[in-house]
Symmetry: C2
Subunit: 323 residues, 2 copies
């Protein structure tokens, strides 16, 4: 654009809304790096309605990025999601919780999505920051809100693997897709149980390979054994590399959205917001005990812990309640 990028959050937001991608990038960098200290931006972006968030999680090599690429195409082509809100702009956050120095690690994924790299309607961003307390678990919902405030109605959040971070991301998403590949049935029980907890939709990608029916049977049996829940995750088969089944995946997303709008979404929103608030509370507390006049009391408690004259539970109470 060539125009000057502002430094004031409100101006940045206006510029980003007008289409300045550098302003959008700077806004996200700002919330990423600010930890609990961006009341200015927070007030601006949380006042806007949140975008619809689709979480995509799966093991490395399951083809998540190619699938995301296909979903972007579908979202822009269909122009709507359940027949109501047009998706004029789609945001993608590629989240890598595993490392502080993998800023460049996801370049491969970005590359795969390059069909959309020059599309004005698409914004793709890797997030791997861990520079501040609370890290990604604060930065991801904040970045989602920034995208929402700028006018992105759909945000796809892509994460690697199934672990605490994925559970966190799932709590940020309206609809979570767990991406598997055929043969996954050989994985240990522990991993299987974990994905049941977060999945709204199962996608068996690379389903042209052997083992797809077995994987489907495995998932069905797993769900049969689990608790009865109001929404039983559908199982979709895709071959993301050539687009097969992507329409089915899209239909499953639309179906889940309709289900949520039948009343479930409010309850989910409350759980999500409560989850967000808890994480901010923790981060704020961690910051507070390390700064100002509480800092020396924190150090005293650490010394006592190392000397074995207290335990973490007593120390925490002393710090929080000055008991």
């Amino acid at each position: 654009m060539g125009s000057v990028i502002a430094s004031d959050p409100r101006e940045l937001l206006d510029q980003a809304r007008a289409g300045a991608r550098a302003a959008l990038a700077r806004l996200i960098t700002y919330v990423e790096g600010s930890g609990v200290n961006h009341l200015d931006t927070a007030a601006l972006v949380y006042a806007q309605s949140a975008p619809y968030v689709v979480g995509l999680t799966g093991a490395p090599g399951s083809g998540k990025s190619t699938l995301t690429d296909q979903l972007i195409t579908t979202a822009l082509a269909e122009g709507s999601f359940g027949g109501e809100n047009p998706f004029g702009r789609v945001g993608v956050l590629c989240v890598d919780p595993t490392s502080p120095f993998s800023g460049g690690a996801l370049l491969g994924d970005r590359y795969r999505m390059q069909g959309h790299a020059t599309d004005e309607r698409v914004y793709i961003r890797s997030m791997a920051t861990r520079g501040h307390l609370g890290g990604l678990s604060l930065a991801v919902p904040d970045a989602v809100r920034v995208l929402g405030a700028v006018g992105f109605e759909l945000v796809i959040v892509e994460t690697v693997g199934v672990g605490q971070m994925e559970v966190d991301v799932a709590s940020t998403a309206d609809t979570t897709v767990v991406v598997l590949t055929p043969g996954w049935g050989d994985a240990v029980q522990a991993e299987k149980a974990g994905i049941l907890e977060v999945a709204d939709v199962f996608d068996i990608n690379k389903s042209d390979r052997a083992g797809t029916p077995a994987t489907r049977r495995d998932l069905e049996r797993m769900m049969d054994m689990g608790p009865t829940i109001p929404w039983r995750p559908p199982i979709v088969e895709t071959v993301a590399s050539d687009g097969r089944g992507v329409a089915d995946l899209w239909a499953a997303l639309v179906g889940h959205r309709r289900f949520l709008e039948g009343g479930e979404r409010d309850e989910r929103q409350r759980r999500r917001v409560s989850h967000e608030l808890d994480r901010v509370l923790s981060a704020l507390l961690s910051e507070r005990v390390r700064t100002g006049d509480v800092a020396h009391r924190y150090e005293e408690q650490l010394d006592a812990l190392l000397a074995g004259t207290t335990d973490p539970y007593r120390a925490a109470r002393a710090l929080l309640f000055e008991e």
Copy 2:
């Protein structure tokens, strides 16, 4: 034993020290289920010196459990670790952070370690609880301390995968072993970067399979590219199923312990204790805002968040500082 198991923590501890495994089991169940509310036990167990903790982390199928089995045998046979402290008793915690309902999921692992199941000197326990706030990130260090107080000098903590939980476990361990298998070199960069952060020792297990030299080269190159650190993790090759290389792994553990005793351990201890204190602080805070007279203020803030009239940062400040 046939003797009556106590319910008072101090009595339980005495019984567990005398060898009553049911008392030990009950103590761990107690700290697992108590969240931030076990000041009685905490005072008892944190006053004792902590055991030496070896963390073992790796993907499902990497052979961690078989390796743990071998390490137990070596620890008991060698009877010492670095030539100083005899390991008369070895504890193993198998941690599954992925699910709340996988209490039985790790039975397979237990089964593999059954060679030691009837050995009085060995205690093996699966931990998968998520029943309370803070969950495993509180329960694991607490269980480690219980084992230490009962007289276990070595505790092996086994976890699945590389994610936030593994980073947490690594912060609990004195020495963390990352278990890989040949062919791992094909994994995405993101995963690679994550393990560098937690590894003190790399173990290429199933090293009789093709691809071991490539995996070793890959690890070396990765470390060459990373920051220079005082301890460069050695790479060990094992075939846990027949015991090959286990002596090398043991030697690497002894080497790392010696390195820590050269001064690094104090710094690590401080980081670890600080990490523990932060987690207890968070959990205590989360509990506090949901109970007593703060609870209605928490609900008010949730309502305001859902209505879009505040943001999580402002809400957290209001709750913490009554601003």
